[in-house]
Symmetry: none
Subunit: 155 residues, 2 copies
DNA sequence: GATAATAAAGTCAGGATTAGTCAAAGTGAT
DNA sequence: ATCACTTTGACTAATCCTGACTTTATTATC
C-alpha cells in the first residue's frame, strides 16, 4: 500500500466503480464534497490518472445538468510497436518520417489502407499549413502520437 | 444520456420522431407548452442540437400558420448538403462542432468506429495544443475539411 | 387594395448553474 | 535544498433557461 493522499483515494474510488461499470458519470461538485476537496482537484485527478494512454476516455459538459463522464476502454496487450514508434517520434517529426511511420503501421497490419490514407491527409504539409517548420513538425508529432495512442484501443 | 435537463428531453423527443419520419413539422408554442418551457427555448434546442453539423436542416415560417420543419439529412448524400456543411465550417471550427460532424459521419455509416476514434484524436484540443483558440479552430477546420473532401471522393 | 389586428417565429442579453484553467502555495521524498 | 507531486482558489468558459422585444405572415376591416 502506498501512501494515500486524497488524489489517490479519489482515483481508487472511481476505478473501483469502473471495474463493475463500463463508464461512470459524476458531478464534479459532488465528488469534491464527498472527499472534502476543492472541485478543481477532481480535474487534477482526471488529468493525471485517467489518461488516454491508460485507456480512459473522458467527456464532460458544463452548465445545468453538467457532468463528467469517464469510460474505460480495453487496450491491446501487445503494444510494443506503438510504444517504440511513440518514443521514436518524440516531440517533432518531419512529413517524410511521419509517412514512414504510417507505412510501417500499414505493413504491420495495424491500420487499413483507408485508415492510412486518412492519417496521411491529417499530417500533410498542406493540411497543417504552418509556416515555421519547427512548429509544423511539433504539431505533426502531436497528431501522430494522438493517433498511435488510439490504436492501442481494442475494437 | 441519463442526465436530464429539459433541453435534452426535447431533443430526444424530436429525434425519436425523426427516426421514423424523414422530417417533422412542429408548432413552436405547442412543443413549448408540452414541456412547460418558454417558446424561445425551442429555438435554443434547435440552434444547439439540430445544426447541419448534426445532420439536420431546419426551415420555418412566422405568422399565421407558422411552423418549424426539421429534416434529417446525410452529410455526403449530395454535394448541396456537403457544401452547406463546408460553408458552415468555413475556416474555423470548435471542437464541439467538429465532434458533431464526426458523429454524423459515423451515424451515416460513412466511417467506422475506429476511423471516428482516429479522427477525434486528431481534432482533439489536447492533441492540437494551440494556445490561441482562433488558431486552434483554424487548424481543426483544415483537418476536418481535408477529411471530408477525402471521403467525398473516395467513398 | 390599404390598413389594422392578430398570430406566429426569431433575437438577444442576462442570470443561474455547472465544469475548466492556471499559477501559486504546500508537502514529502531524496 | 531541491524537485516532483498535490492542493487550493480566483478567474474563465460553456450551457441552460427565461422574458422582453422584434420581425414576418396571415386575416379582418374599411
Amino acid at each position: 500500500m502506498e501512501t494515500q493522499n486524497v488524489s489517490d483515494m479519489i482515483e481508487q474510488y472511481l476505478k473501483n466503480i469502473l471495474q463493475e461499470h463500463q463508464h461512470i458519470e459524476i458531478r464534479r461538485a459532488e465528488i469534491a464534497q464527498q472527499f472534502d476537496v476543492v472541485p478543481s482537484q477532481i480535474n487534477y485527478v482526471i488529468k493525471t490518472r485517467f489518461t488516454i494512454q491508460n485507456g480512459y476516455l473522458v467527456e464532460s459538459k458544463r452548465g445545468g445538468g453538467g457532468y463528467i463522464r469517464i469510460a474505460k476502454v480495453r487496450l491491446l496487450e501487445d503494444n510494443q510497436v506503438l510504444d517504440l514508434l511513440i518514443t521514436a517520434i518524440g516531440t517533432t517529426v518531419s512529413q517524410h518520417d511521419a509517412i514512414a511511420v504510417v507505412q510501417s503501421l500499414f505493413e504491420d497490419k495495424l491500420i487499413s489502407p483507408r485508415e492510412a490514407s486518412l492519417i496521411l491527409a491529417t499530417i500533410d504539409k498542406d493540411t497543417l499549413r504552418i509556416n515555421d517548420t519547427q512548429t509544423e513538425n511539433a504539431m505533426r508529432a502531436r497528431i501522430l502520437i494522438g493517433i498511435l495512442n488510439r490504436l492501442r484501443f481494442k475494437s
